[in-house]
């Protein structure tokens, strides 16, 4: 499959990249590792006029930790580098767990943190070559009016299938969005719109420059688990990130956060679980209730090659497993 033609630029700095986007943002795509963008272009899903290579921007490839403010991860940090980073493994093991789940060794070597947070939503009826898609009406994500996955569907249910996002959202991560005019810092959870056709709330002139993860209170443990058909290469069909702060031998829950992924157009926090568990002693009974809440919260549709019910059941099982590990 050949890539369509495009004009190529390699800005030397974040400022240069932002200036370029200010003028050409609407006709450009950013390429860091290219592992999501290039397949999309090969399938004929995307044909930007400009391709902006951000992989070598000097300010964006650092992982820094500060005892006062927490972790800062530049958007161009490779997922493999994040996975192997000693600080991350020691202080934020949930992030390392999620990073190691991504793709394959080659994809982790090429792909970046910013890229993984920004991957396009996926659907078995969308991620297909031109020839395949031409046999069906133009779908909503392609700018048409029909959903091919769901007969009569009027909104897009393409699935956000990133592994890092649920783990980072569980950690209350925030992202830095930079443009010529301003720098905004927003919770990572607010990046995701829940609309499969326009999944991210980022302006054409903005670049996701980095991720900030706050310090964790003592006794806090984060996890991430992924369900996929194979152990590598596959996108998740269900993903669960948890963050628990437990106190004492009775496992009094001071804080609980469960974020589910790959079962909707964006990662979702199951707030009802936090409400259920906080202030109570963690028990098998409560864990069963929590996993049932997760089952109800997951709303996958039949667009990713695995039955929606099975993915809901896997969400339930992964939540149960993660919470039991904390007991």
């Amino acid at each position: 499959m050949r890539l369509p033609k495009f004009l190529y630029v390699e800005p030397g700095s974040l400022e240069e990249a932002c200036l370029f986007l200010e003028e050409h943002g609407r006709e450009s795509k950013l390429m860091a590792g290219g592992t999501d963008l290039l397949p999309s272009m090969k399938l004929g899903l995307s044909a930007p006029k400009w391709l902006i290579n951000t992989s070598a921007l000097p300010q964006l490839d650092q992982v820094e930790f500060d005892e006062g403010s927490g972790l800062r991860i530049g958007a161009s940090v490779k997922i493999g580098a994040l996975e192997r980073n000693a600080l991350v493994r020691q202080k934020y093991p949930g992030i390392a767990l999620a990073a190691v789940c991504v793709g394959s060794p080659q994809l982790r070597q090429m792909g970046t943190v910013g890229g993984n947070l920004s991957i396009d939503t996926r659907c078995d009826y969308y991620n297909q070559p031109d020839l395949w898609r031409d046999c069906k009406p133009k779908c909503i994500k392609m700018g048409g009016e029909t959903c091919n996955a769901i007969g009569g569907g009027r909104k897009c249910f393409a699935v956000f299938s990133g592994d890092l996002a649920p783990a980072l959202i569980a950690l209350d991560a925030r992202i830095r969005l930079v443009s010529v005019r301003e720098e905004r810092i927003i919770p990572l959870s607010e990046l995701y719109t829940g609309n499969g056709a326009k999944p991210r709330a980022i302006k054409p002139e903005e670049i996701l420059a980095g991720v900030e993860v706050p310090l964790l209170p003592a006794g806090t443990v984060g996890t991430y688990a992924k369900f996929a058909v194979r152990k590598a290469i596959d996108f998740p069909l269900a993903g669960v990130a948890t963050l628990l702060t437990l106190e004492g031998k009775e496992k009094l829950c001071r804080a609980a956060k469960v974020v589910i992924g790959a079962v909707g157009p964006g990662p979702d926090e199951v707030k009802a679980i936090g409400q259920l568990l906080e202030g109570k002693k963690l028990s098998l009974q409560l864990i069963e209730e929590a996993s049932s809440l997760a089952f109800k919260a997951a709303k996958p549709v039949a667009n990713r090659g695995s039955s929606p019910v099975y993915r809901k059941l896997m969400i339930k099982a992964l939540v149960r497993k993660a919470l039991r590990q904390a007991l």
């Binding site: 290039l38 992989s55 080659q106 070597q109 590598a232």
Partner: protein, 154 residues
């Protein structure tokens, strides 16, 4: 519009004029005749096009040639020293780890990247290192044995 780019491949410099939309895989195979790197899925899901970029495994089908300036590219052709094969290549041959050969260059390069960083990996570490390289023929058993044997031999 073509861009001038100098690619360092297997220790040799190649000055080329390439369009930005050419992948490293296309340039290797079509412009340089280095057909050891294989084109299979062409979208990052099989690993057959694995090369080493600055000694780390990367997929040539998803790498733009113009983005490789200043990087050290190693293909399977770069592993032998004159007539002498790399220990991984010999091990694969001796242990019957090659059937059709399509996955082999990518497998060997992924294995080389592993052994260069971790000279004595466990079987689990070997399997993780090649988890991005699919093989339809062998069932992976002899491939894993060949990599472990090559590591033990050092």
């Amino acid at each position: 519009m073509k861009e001038q780019v100098t690619l360092e491949i297997n220790g040799e410099s190649h000055e080329l004029l390439v369009e930005p939309e050419k992948t490293l895989l296309e340039v290797l195979r079509e412009d340089l005749g280095l057909t050891g790197t294989k084109q299979s899925c062409d979208m990052g899901t099989c690993g057959a096009c694995t090369v080493l970029l600055n000694n780390k495994p990367a997929l040539a089908c998803l790498t733009l040639a113009v983005a490789c300036k200043g990087k050290q590219i190693t293909t399977i052709e770069g592993l032998r020293k004159g007539e002498e094969l790399h220990p991984l290549q010999s091990s694969f041959i001796e242990r019957g780890a090659i059937q059709c050969g399509m996955c082999t260059p990518g497998m060997i390069l992924s294995a080389k990247a592993l052994l260069d960083e971790n000279a004595h990996p466990t079987e689990a570490e070997v399997r993780t290192a090649i988890s991005g390289n699919l093989c339809r023929c062998t069932g992976y058993t002899k491939i894993v044995e060949a990599i472990l044997a090559a590591s033990a031999a050092d």
